[in-house]
């Protein structure tokens, strides 16, 4: 099944400081108590947002000047921990179209790609430059999946996106099920050759 082609994501950016931000922080477990993803974006970073407000601060996701952000800028190992897809779902449903950071946890990046949310890794020095460029709330960012770059404030830096995810997004084939069902007879052939699939009988 083909999906939306995603070649570039453009718009203002939102900077979320910190490394090793786990999916429990992105989406606390109590908000997983639901049977749909509807409205889950309302709880994105809820505990961190409340904690920031209680200290008299403003969490980046509560900054009215960033409400139209399309690009989320994070640190390293973003999305570590639980495999809950609720985390990338909430980020995407909030309005983010691409995440840029130093590195991403594997399950998170895979889940994000599977719902059409690219995760692009940039070098640490380039990340600093992008963070500075994002200081101006309206600054336009472009994540270009075809060119493998992130651009802002007249500067363009290299971005790494896992090749399979990049290929799937720019060809509109990131919705994998159709592809996996395409030649189901091949799946059956592999299963038939596995002794455990017939419980080691014969």
């Amino acid at each position: 099944m083909s999906a939306r082609v995603i070649r570039r994501v453009a718009g203002p950016a939102l900077v979320l400081p910190g490394d090793d931000i786990d999916t429990d922080r992105i989406m606390p477990a109590r908000f997983l108590r639901a049977i749909t993803f509807d409205g889950i974006e309302a709880h994105l970073f809820e505990d961190d947002r409340r904690s920031a407000a209680a200290r008299g601060g403003t969490h980046p996701f509560d900054d009215p000047a960033r409400r139209d952000a399309r690009v989320l800028i994070v640190g390293s190992n973003f999305g570590c921990g639980s495999s809950r897809e609720h985390a990338p779902q909430a980020i995407a449903r909030w309005g983010i179209g691409a995440v840029v950071g130093e590195s991403f946890a594997e399950i998170f990046a895979g889940n994000a790609a599977a719902i059409g949310l690219p995760c692009a890794s940039v070098a640490q020095g380039d990340l600093e430059a992008l963070r500075r460029a994002a200081a101006a709330p309206g600054a336009e960012f472009v994540v270009d999946l075809v060119e493998r770059t992130v651009s802002a404030a007249g500067r363009t830096v290299r971005a790494a996106i896992p090749e399979a995810a990049r290929e799937a997004l720019i060809s509109g084939q990131w919705d994998a099920t159709g592809m996996l069902l395409d030649r189901y007879e091949d799946v059956e052939r592999v299963a038939a050759a596995l002794p455990y699939a017939r419980n080691f009988n014969g």
């Binding site: 809950r84 994998a176 799946v187 596995l194």
Partner: protein
């Protein structure tokens, strides 16, 4: 050409290379629970697809079940809704469900192995990052998201790219009072929480070879906390003897055929690895996390780090963790007062975990200010523990003895921390807010250390308590 288990199992499950360059991998066992599956079933329904291999799909309810007051309908309406959705989905698609009435319900990563569903050489997926647990049997087992749960339901396969393999050798006898949990916390503390990205971890060496399946599961369970989606141990006679006679394991002549196949999948002695790490088990002490990720660990007899002495890269993380935990730089780990003791989770709620903790609890009393819970990993673990009288030991000591479930590991049920409570926990994650209170705090440690902390009312070195018990 010599191969690792990873390569052997990968190659036997590879269906074809997909247009995007990934490999389509056949899935041998799909485990399903109530939290990450309802949206996947809904999409299946919307697209008119069926579950391709219901006979290779098994479900249980674990995350949202209350651990007391388990009568239906649940008092918590949302828990009831989620349980009903899973029941409906399983009924509609012919998927076996181990529910509370089955006697076989429990945490998905506890029941898969104990039912004999988890076997060497399989590919195993579940919408849960601790699926790495099943790697203890020499399976390639990993957590997936809900969209991939849909893929697997519809196609019994998954798109993925191969991983590199890091061999982690642990050698030497573990000192008394030091357990598998201390080994894996030490590994994560040394390698860090993101070192595993792109890798499967293969655990070996004589320490691992001497470990029971329960202990190997504890090790593999926390691979994901080191960033590795997959962790495994090569199958050996310990693996095979564990599986003999289990409900879904092959029997009779088929078991002997299985044994030969399982043994053939172990990594070849001359296999090459993308990386190798060695650890001396004799130098490991009871280990405790002090911060907000599972890599922030210290031996129980050590002091917390001082950000002033840390590298620039680590400083911010240490400061943030100390502030959240309310700890001082350089403070001693031992003597930290706790409020709650939680003995449970897919990491450490198997029978042997409860036995080790019961040895510490026997004849002692939980400190007056501590709320202490024992939550068996499954109904089968609970029944076995009760036959041995472990429940009585815990109850007499002042622990609550609960029904099986994920409980306070992630607090999607009624078990949770309140306010800034500090919890000595045998679970796997100490992230901010993990145990249900946004300001609640977690210290990860072994089950025996949790029992010791419950009794002392503070973090203590379980080795001293064990020596006391032996001497009395």
């Amino acid at each position: 050409m010599p191969e690792t288990l990873f390569q052997k199992v990968w190659n036997r499950h590879a269906v074809r290379v997909l247009p995007n360059g990934q490999t389509q991998i056949y899935v041998g066992l799909h485990l399903v629970h109530e939290v990450t599956s309802p949206q996947a079933f809904a999409e299946l329904r919307a697209r008119g697809w069926r579950v391709r291999a219901p006979e290779r799909t098994f479900a249980t309810v674990d995350h949202i079940v209350p651990t007391r007051g388990q009568a239906r309908p649940f008092a918590d309406a949302m828990a009831e809704t989620m349980a009903e959705a899973l029941e409906r989905n399983c009924r509609e698609h012919g998927i076996p469900l181990f529910d509370l009435a089955s006697g076989a319900q429990g945490i998905v990563h506890v029941i898969g192995p104990e039912l004999g569903l988890t076997q060497p050489g399989m590919t195993i997926v579940c919408g849960d990052s601790h699926t790495s647990t099943h790697g203890a049997f020499g399976a390639l087992a990993f957590g997936i998201g809900t969209t991939q749960v849909r893929d697997v339901l519809a196609s019994q396969s998954i798109a993925m790219s191969p991983l590199k393999v890091r061999r982690i050798d642990v050698e030497g006898r573990l000192p008394a009072g030091v357990y598998a949990k201390d080994v894996i916390l030490s590994i994560i503390g040394r390698l860090g929480i993101k070192a595993g990205a792109g890798f499967a971890y293969e655990y070996g060496g004589d320490t691992i070879a001497r470990m029971s399946m329960d202990e190997r599961m504890t090790i593999c369970n926390m691979s994901i906390e080191g960033g590795a989606r997959i962790g495994y141990v090569n199958p050996d006679e310990t693996t095979i003897e564990y599986l003999r006679g289990r409900k879904f394991a092959p029997a009779g002549a088929a078991f002997e055929r299985a044994r030969a196949w399982w043994r053939s999948l172990a990594s070849d002695p001359s296999a090459t690895y993308d990386d190798r790490v060695a650890l001396d088990a004799r130098g490991i002490a009871p280990t405790v996390t002090w911060g907000i990720n599972p890599g922030q660990v210290v031996p129980v007899d050590a002091r917390l780090p001082d950000p002033r002495g840390a590298s620039a890269a680590d400083r911010g993380g240490i400061e943030e963790a100390l502030e959240f935990m309310g700890f001082q730089p350089g403070q001693a780990m031992a003597g930290t007062r706790i409020d709650v003791a939680f003995l449970g989770s897919c990491t450490n709620a198997r029978l042997s975990d409860l036995r080790e903790a019961a040895k510490v609890a026997a004849g002692r009393r939980v400190a007056r200010h501590v709320r202490a819970l024992v939550v068996p990993g499954s109904q089968a673990v609970a029944a076995a523990a009760e036959r041995e009288g472990l429940d009585a030991i815990f109850r007499d000591a002042g622990f609550e003895w609960r029904g099986a479930g994920c409980s306070m590991c992630l607090a999607m049920n009624t078990d949770r921390l309140e306010g800034r409570e500090l919890c000595a926990s045998s679970s796997n994650r100490n992230f901010k807010g993990r145990q249900g209170s946004p300001t609640g705090r977690t210290l990860l440690m072994s089950p025996a250390m949790v029992a010791a902390a419950a009794i002392a009312g503070e973090v203590v070195d379980v080795r001293a308590m064990l020596a006391q018990a032996a001497g009395s």
